[in-house]
C-alpha cells in the first residue's frame, strides 16, 4: 500500500509539472487549507527532482575531478567558488533563462526552482564524493587493481560504496538547507517576470499578501508533516542502509535503525520484488565494460608529470579566466560606477557584522545547552532529532510571524530583522555541539571528575577543547546559512507594510525585484568574495587548528 501510494503520488505530481503555463494567467494560489496537501506534494516533488539532479552531477563532476589531475586543477576551485555564491543569487539569473527555454510552459519556472534547490545541495555533495574518492584506502585500491577490476567494476564496487556514508550524510545536510530554498524559490519576481509556482512557498507568499496569519499556521503544519515523512521514509532508511559501507572494521555500539528499512527487508512480498532488482544491480556492477586492457590496467608510473602539457593546459585555463574577466568587465563597466561598488561593499560590511554578532550570540546560548544535553544520553536521544528537525525546517515560513510582531510592537527593523538570518541555521551549532559532547570519551570525563577539576577550568581545558572541532563544523554551516538567508530576511513585508533592514541581502533582493542585472551580479560577487574571505581567514584555520589540537598521535 505504502509503495503503491507513493508511486501514485509521484505520478500526480509529475503530471502537473508539465502542464502548460501561461505567464498571464497563472493558477491562482488558493488559501484554503484543503489545497495545501497538493501544494506540499508539489514542493516535495521539486525536492526529489533536485536531489536526483544533484546525484547525477556528483557522480560525474566529482569523478572527473578525482580521476584527472588536470581537470582537478580547474574543477575544484570552481566548485569552491560555486559553493560560496548565495543560492538565491543563482535564481535571479537563471529564472529568465529557464522561462525563455520553455516559453508558455510551466516547465521553465519549475526547472528554475529545481535548479535553485540543486545549487543548494549539489556542491557539498560533490565535494564529499570527491573527498571520498581521494581517500580510498591504499590497500583496497591495490586489491582492486591486483584482482584486475575494470574501471566500471571499481567505481561501483569500491569507490561509490566507500564514499557512500559521507555522501548520504551530506545529502541529509543539503536537504535541510534545501527546504529553505524550495520555499523561497516558488514565489519570485525578477523584473517583470512574476512567478508563483503552486507549492507551500507560494502559499505563504500569498498569505503574507493577504495578511492571513492562520494560513501561515496551516503552511507550517503542512511543512512539518512533509519533513517528518521525508525523514522517516527516505533518509532514515538510507542512513541505516549505508551503515554497512562504514569502513571501520569494528562493530559500532549504536547502529542506526529504521522501521521502514526493517519493513522492506522483512516483508516477503517486498523481498520478492527486491530480489530481481538486487540481482540485476549485481550483474550491472559486475559487468566488465572495460576499455582495451592496455588502457585500463596501466601501472603506476613514477615518471614526473609531463611538464610541457601542464604548461599548455595552465596557459589555456589562464586564457579562459582572462577572457571571462574581460567579458564581465565589459558587461559591468557599462552599467556600473565605482559608487555602486562602494554601496555594495558598505552593505556587505553591515551584513558581515550581523552574521558575526549573531554567530557569537547563538554560540553563547547553544554551546552550554548543547553540552548539557550531550552529556546526558537520555536527553540527547530526545533532543537531537528535534534539533535536526528544526535545522531542516524552512525558517522563512516563520518570518511572517516575526514580522507581524515587529509591526505590532513597532520595533526597529535594522536590529530586529537580524535574528531572522540565523533563525534556521543556529540549530546546526546546537546539534553539532550535542554530537560532540556525547562523543566525548567518558574516561576523559571521569578523569576530570576524579581530579575534581574546578568548574571554570573544566570548561576551558576539558570540555571546550573536546567539542571544538564539532563546534567549528556547526558554526561554518550556520554562518554559510546565515549569508544565504540574508537575501530573504533583510527585506520582508507583511501585506502592504515593507520592512527594510538594509545590508547586502537587502541590496540583492531589491535589485532582483527591479530586474537590475548588473547590480544583482555586483551584489552576488561582493557576497561571494566576503564568504570566501571569511572561510579562508577564519574558518579554515580554525578547523585546521581544531584538528591538530585534538589529535593524540
Amino acid at each position: 500500500m505504502l509503495v503503491l501510494g507513493l508511486i501514485l503520488l509521484i505520478g500526480i505530481g509529475a503530471r502537473q509539472m508539465v502542464a502548460p503555463f501561461v505567464s498571464a494567467h497563472q493558477a491562482e494560489i488558493s488559501l484554503a487549507p484543503a489545497a495545501l496537501p497538493l501544494y506540499t506534494l508539489r514542493t516535495v516533488m521539486r525536492m526529489l527532482a533536485a536531489l536526483a539532479a544533484s546525484l547525477t552531477f556528483t557522480f560525474t563532476y566529482a569523478t572527473l575531478a578525482a580521476k584527472s589531475r588536470r581537470a582537478e586543477m580547474v574543477l575544484i576551485p570552481i566548485l569552491d567558488v560555486l559553493q560560496s555564491v548565495p543560492v538565491l543569487g543563482y535564481l535571479s539569473f537563471t529564472v529568465t533563462f529557464f522561462v525563455a527555454l520553455f516559453p508558455g510552459n510551466v516547465l521553465g519556472p519549475e526547472l528554475a526552482a529545481i535548479f535553485a534547490i540543486f545549487t543548494s545541495q549539489a556542491w557539498n555533495m560533490a565535494f564529499s564524493f570527491y573527498q571520498g574518492l581521494r581517500t580510498v584506502p591504499n590497500e583496497l585500491d591495490e586489491a582492486s587493481r591486483a584482482f584486475r577490476a575494470s574501471a566500471w567494476q571499481r567505481f561501483w564496487r569500491l569507490e561509490v560504496p566507500f564514499a557512500m556514508p559521507g555522501l548520504i550524510w551530506n545529502m541529509m545536510m543539503s536537504m535541510s538547507g534545501g527546504w529553505f530554498f524550495v520555499v523561497a524559490s516558488e514565489a519570485i519576481s525578477v523584473g517583470d517576470v512574476q512567478i508563483a509556482l503552486p507549492g507551500v512557498g507560494s502559499y505563504v507568499a500569498r498569505a503574507i499578501q493577504e495578511r492571513d496569519l492562520a494560513a501561515v499556521g496551516w503552511a507550517i503544519a503542512a511543512m512539518t508533516i512533509a519533513i517528518i515523512c521525508y525523514d522517516q521514509l527516505l533518509f532514515r532508511p538510507m542512513v541505516a542502509w549505508a551503515e554497512k559501507f562504514r569502513f571501520e572494521q569494528t562493530a559500532a555500539q549504536t547502529v542506526p535503525r529504521s522501521w521502514v528499512l526493517d519493513l522492506l527487508r522483512g516483508s516477503n512480498l517486498l523481498r520478492s520484488i527486491n530480489q530481481p532488482i538486487g540481482t540485476a544491480a549485481r550483474k550491472i556492477t559486475r559487468a566488465q565494460l572495460s576499455l582495451p586492457p592496455g588502457i585500463v590496467h596501466r601501472m603506476t608510473v613514477w615518471s614526473p608529470p609531463r611538464r610541457a602539457v601542464d604548461i599548455i593546459w595552465i596557459g589555456l585555463v589562464a586564457a579562459g579566466i582572462a577572457y571571462v574577466v574581460w567579458a564581465l568587465a565589459q558587461f559591468a563597466g557599462a552599467a556600473l560606477a565605482w559608487d555602486d561598488v562602494a554601496i555594495a561593499v558598505s552593505n556587505g560590511g553591515l551584513t558581515l557584522l550581523r552574521v558575526a554578532i549573531l554567530i557569537v550570540i547563538a554560540s553563547v546560548i547553544w554551546v552550554p545547552i548543547g553540552v548539557a544535553v550531550g552529556l546526558r544520553p537520555g536527553l540527547t536521544a530526545k533532543v537531537q532529532p528535534i534539533a535536526q528537525f528544526l535545522a531542516a525546517f524552512p525558517a522563512n515560513l516563520l518570518f511572517p510571524v516575526v514580522v507581524f510582531l515587529i509591526v505590532r510592537f513597532d520595533l526597529t527593523p535594522r536590529i530586529w530583522l537580524s535574528p531572522l538570518m540565523i533563525l534556521g541555521t543556529q540549530w546546526y551549532i546546537l546539534f553539532n555541539v550535542i554530537a560532540g559532547a556525547s562523543a566525548f570519551p567518558s574516561d576523559f570525563r571521569e578523569a576530570a571528575a576524579t581530579f575534581r577539576v574546578r568548574r571554570w577550568r573544566w570548561w576551558r581545558q576539558v570540555m571546550l577543547p573536546g567539542i571544538f572541532p564539532y563546534y567549528v563544523t556547526g558554526a561554518i554551516t550556520a554562518s554559510g546559512g546565515a549569508w544565504n538567508a540574508s537575501i530573504v530576511s533583510e527585506v520582508v513585508s507583511w501585506g502592504p507594510t515593507k520592512l527594510n533592514g538594509s545590508g547586502l541581502g537587502a541590496y540583492i533582493a531589491q535589485m532582483t525585484v527591479a530586474g537590475d542585472f548588473p547590480r544583482i551580479a555586483l551584489g552576488i560577487a561582493v557576497m561571494s568574495i566576503l564568504v570566501i574571505t571569511m572561510n579562508r581567514l577564519i574558518w579554515r584555520p580554525l578547523y585546521a587548528f581544531a584538528e591538530r589540537r585534538t589529535r593524540l598521535d
Binding site: P137, E139, L140, E142, A143, R145, A146, F147, R148, A149, S150, Q153, R157, L158, P161, M164, K244, F245, R246, F247, E248, Q249, T250, A251, T279, R282, K283, R286, Q288, P293, G294, H297, R298, M299, T300, V301, W302, P304
Partner: protein, 435 residues
Amino acid sequence: MTTETIPPVIDLRKINMAFARPTGEPLPVLVDIDLSIMEGEIVGLLGRSGSGKSTLLRIAGGLIRPTSGEVLYRGAPLAGPAEGITIVFQTFALYPWLTVQENVELGLDALALPLDEARRRATSAIDLIGLDGFQSAYPRELSGGMRQRVGFARAIVSDPTLLLMDEPFSALDVLTAETLRTDFLDLWTARQLPTKAVLLVTHNIEEAVLMCDRILVLASNPAHVAAEIRVPLPQPRNRLDAAFHAIVDEIYSILTSRMTESIGAQSQINRGLAQRLPRVSIYLIGGFIEKLISPPFDGYAEMARIAASFNLQVNWLFPIAEALHILEFAELKEASIKLTAAGRVFARSGPEERKRLFREHLLRFVPLAAHIRQVLDDREGHAAPRARFEFELQDHLDGRDAERTLRAVVGWGRYAGLFDYDDKSRTFRIGQTVA
C-alpha cells in the same frame, strides 16, 4: 637442468626503483635486484621495515613499474596485473561492505564467469580455507585470523599460478599466525593448491625459515640483496631442530653485520648528519640495557637468544640494537650484542647519572644532536625552526626517514636536557627547563 627448459614462474632482472625527492632528484630505494622463482618454490624476502621488500612484491605483481629492469612472468614481459598472479595483503584489504562470499567472488570478477559458476568456485575456496559456514558474514564480524583466511580464499579462488604474500601474518597475534601458517603449509605440501610458486615478504626470521625453500635477505638503504640462503629442511619443520637454529643464526648474523656496516658508512657522509636514527624511546633503551646486563646474559647475548627471550621480532629488536650501537652503549658483532664499558656504567647508575652519561654520548656520537645544539647556541634567542633541520636531512634521506630521525632526536634530546622542542610552533629552543 630443468631450469633450461621451463622458464621461471617469475623472473625479475636488474630491478631498480627510485622515487622523486622533494628537490626533484631521484632517491634510489631498490638497486639491481635479481629474483627468480621456479615452479614448486616458496621464496622469502626478508628485511627490516622500510627496506623496500613490499615495493619489490608490488613490482612482481605488476602494480608498480620499476624505474629500470625487466619483469618476466612465465617468460613473457609483465605489463600490469596479470591473470594468474594474486596478492594476500598485510592488512587483509577486504571490502567491509561485502560479505565473505562476495569478497571471495571479487577474486573472480576479472574472469567474467557466469554468476553461478563464480558462486560455486567461491564456495569451494571458502571450504578449502576452513571458513565454511561464514559465507554470509561481514568482515567486521570476524576476528583477525578469520579475516586473513578470507584474504587467502580470495587470492586462491582464481587458481593463481603465483601467489604473492605481503607480510600476511604480521597483523595477527602469535598463536593465530602460527595456526594459519601451518594450515597453509599443509595445503601446500599436500598439493591441494593449484598455485605453482609463492613469494613471501616478511620481517620475521623464524617465519621465513619455517616456510621458505629459499630466502633472500635484503639490506636496506637502498635495498639490495645481501645474501641468498637455501633452506634444505623437509616440511614440516621443527623450530627446535639444530639445523633450523643454525639457519636462523646465520640470518641474524648477516642482518647484524649489514647493519653495523651501514651505520659505519653513514657516519662518513656529510659529517654523519645524515645518519638515520631509529625511533626508539629512551625507556626502551634503558630497559634493554638492564635486561642485557642481568643474568643469564651478563652483558653479552646472541641476537637470536635475546629475541626469543623477549619475544621480539626483527623489526623491534634491530632498532633498539641499532640505537645502542650508534650511542656506543653496546657493540654489535656477528650475530651478537655486547655492552660497552659505558653501557655497563649506564646500567649501574641512578637516574641523574644516566641522564648525564646519555647526554655526553648523544653529543659525541650523534652528530645531528650536536649540530642542533650548536645552532641553538649560536643563534640569538636560542631558537630554530624545525624546517631548517628537516631541509638539511632531506638532502640525504627520504621524507619518511627524515621524519623518523628528527622525532628520534627530539625524544633523545629532551631526555638528555640538550634542547627542547615546541610542536605548536615547530621550533627547537633551549628553554628554562634546559640547562
